[in-house]
């Protein structure tokens, strides 16, 4: 019982100590925390610096979407007034945000960085149909500002879109993270890569080190022995050529 009393006293001290700390929560509608750069908010459709839409209507995003919530219908660009630099453009583009799981696979799939995820998250629907955003809400303004759908939002969110896309890099290889591999955005130009993760692209040593780290070899001295499958097979009493039955 004596141990129990000590433990209770310890617990009471923990709660008392926490009572002296500053609250970690904020008064949300009045105070909005800055979001992390890679926040998975709602999507935006980006434009090039000259105002052309990046989407080429290829439907790769719709194909990869695990929630099947993207609907794309492409159309041929009118030669006299092309909407996108490609042959086709996204004529209809809809995302159902009641189904989206914010996985970001669409962002990864997109060959032109047309679709990225913004920091906007304050949805409020009064109707299921309202949750289906069309191009009118998804497409950014010609100056690159996302349209916001609600009355309450963090103005900083309008600046940030596609942080996650830029952090993971289109190549899918961590050692290229420092190198912008994306096209310019309307209103923002070529956005800088997220700092502090990858190697300095100018330094091949660092790039290589980062690459090693990526496959888990750096910092452990010598590389572990490669597995010799032939030797293993012999140990198991199989000759190299025989297939186990």
């Amino acid at each position: 019982m004596a141990i129990g009393v000590g433990a209770i006293a310890k617990g009471l001290w923990v709660t008392l100590r926490n009572a002296m700390r500053k609250p970690v929560t904020v008064q949300y509608p009045e105070v909005i925390r800055p979001k992390p750069e890679r926040f998975h908010g709602r999507h935006v459709l980006n434009r090039y610096g000259d105002g052309m839409e990046k989407c080429i209507g290829c439907e790769l995003c719709a194909g990869v979407c695990p929630a099947r919530c993207i609907y794309v219908r492409g159309a041929d660009n009118p030669p006299e007034a092309p909407v996108s630099p490609g042959e086709r453009y996204g004529y209809v583009y809809e995302i159902n945000f009641l189904r989206c799981i914010y996985c970001g696979l669409c962002v990864e799939a997109c060959p032109t960085e047309a679709i990225t995820m913004s920091n906007l998250f304050e949805f409020s629907f009064t109707d299921r149909d309202d949750a289906i955003f069309g191009k009118d809400l998804l497409l950014v303004d010609p100056d690159g500002t996302p349209k916001h759908s609600g009355s309450h939002y963090d103005p900083r969110s309008l600046e940030e879109s596609g942080g996650w896309m830029r952090a993971t890099s289109p190549g899918g290889d961590a050692s290229y993270e420092g190198i912008p591999g994306w096209s310019a955005d309307a209103g923002h130009g070529v956005r800088a890569a997220e700092a502090g993760q990858g190697a300095d692209p100018a330094d091949p040593e660092q790039v290589l080190a980062g690459h090693r780290d990526d496959v888990g070899l750096a910092g452990r001295g010598a590389a572990p022995e490669a597995l010799d499958f032939g030797a293993l097979a012999k140990k198991a009493g199989l000759s190299g050529k025989e297939t186990p039955t």
Binding site: M1, I8, V14, T15, L16, N18, A19, P23, V24, T25
Partner: protein, 360 residues
């Protein structure tokens, strides 16, 4: 003093005053509990309704009043309806014997207040006050038990079964921790117990073990964490009040907090010297009753604060631990302590050790 209109008026006034004070305390307690919990969990807590969120309880109450009171089809109607009332009524009735102050005299003279009316600062000045409190808290068990049985649903039933075992066991521990107080004070009258503790002869120090056990048993009696096995929302959905909603749920909620206030007030009465305090030393000052009430309420608020603190800190006990604590620790130790107190009191009175075993 014969019974006339004035007596009736004074009686009614006392009841209303106590009711108002206690309701205010309950309202503040519900709010304070949430704020205390928030502060200890580095959150902010309710702060929207009124200044500092003080009106949060009112808002919650209005919400519960306006909610639909659903009656599940398989309930035992009579038992189901009776249970919330059985929770609230004993909770308030137990308050009747709590002395809020020394009492004062209107229009009379002298120490016996001849020719005037003496106002007790308690609803009923019973000479068996302690027994009244114990019996009321015993009736409170029926609320959880009947709610569990009458709901006709398995989680409330489990809660009700737990309630019957837990509260009846701790009732024994609670009573046994009060008995040393009664023995030491030599009276069952709560006012008398307070007077026995004047001049800072608080029972807390000589009767520390019973005081501690009273507090533990009080937590269990009121189904407060860490003894909230009767509700145990992580195990039993809502325990005995799972099937209750709207006004009926509010009655259970109200009863819980009234119980907390009552039992804290009684802890103060039994162990912390009740309304006695440093300023009006012997009730000589005109405003002694007022100061008495202030001391009393301040002490009570501190005890309620400890209830909240424990709630935020401690995880719920396992059921066998709960029972073991009661029957293997609290009750035997209390019995031994009671014996020791009795021997001591007898020794003080007679100057001789009582002859317990054998003649001689």
């Amino acid at each position: 003093m014969e019974f006339d209109g004035w007596t009736a008026l004074i009686g009614t006034g006392t009841v209303v005053a106590v009711f108002v004070v206690v309701m205010l305390m309950v309202i503040l307690a519900v709010w304070a509990e949430r704020r205390v919990a928030a502060v200890m969990q580095t959150r902010i807590g309710p702060n929207r309704a009124g200044p500092f969120g003080l009106l949060q309880t009112i808002a919650d109450g209005i919400k519960l009043l306006m909610k639909e009171s659903i009656t599940p089809r398989q309930v035992d109607r009579l038992v189901y309806e009776l249970a919330p009332l059985l929770a609230v009524l004993p909770a308030f009735l137990a308050l009747a014997i709590v002395p809020f102050g020394p009492g004062f005299c209107i229009g009379g003279q002298g120490t016996d207040c001849s020719g005037g009316y003496f106002v007790d600062m308690q609803i009923a000045n019973l000479n068996v006050g302690v027994l009244w409190f114990l019996s009321m808290s015993a009736i409170g068990v029926y609320a959880a038990l009947l709610a569990g049985w009458g709901s006709g649903s398995k989680y409330p039933l489990l809660g009700g079964v737990r309630a019957s075992a837990q509260v009846i066991s701790y009732e024994a521990a609670l009573s046994l921790s009060v008995v040393p107080v009664v023995v030491a004070a030599g009276t069952l009258d709560t006012q008398g117990i307070v007077l026995a503790q004047s001049q800072y002869r608080w029972f807390l120090l000589p009767l520390f073990i019973p005081a501690l056990f009273f507090f533990v048993a009080a937590l269990a009696e009121t189904n407060r964490p860490p003894f909230d096995l009767v509700e145990a929302e992580s195990e039993l959905v809502g325990g005995f009040h799972t099937e209750y909603s709207g006004v009926r749920f509010m009655l259970f909620f109200l009863a819980e907090y009234v119980n907390v206030v009552t039992i804290s007030a009684l802890f103060v009465t039994f162990f912390l010297g009740g309304w006695t305090g440093p300023y009006p030393v012997a009730g000589s000052v005109n405003w002694a009753p007022l100061f008495g009430a202030i001391w009393f309420l301040a002490k009570t608020v501190c005890i309620i604060g400890i209830f909240f603190w424990l709630r935020v800190t401690l995880p719920r006990l396992r059921y066998d631990q709960l029972m073991a604590l009661c029957w293997k620790r609290l009750i035997p130790i209390n019995l031994v302590y009671l014996m020791a107190v009795a021997v001591w009191v007898a020794y003080q009175a007679t100057g001789d050790l009582p002859r317990l075993v054998g003649g001689g």
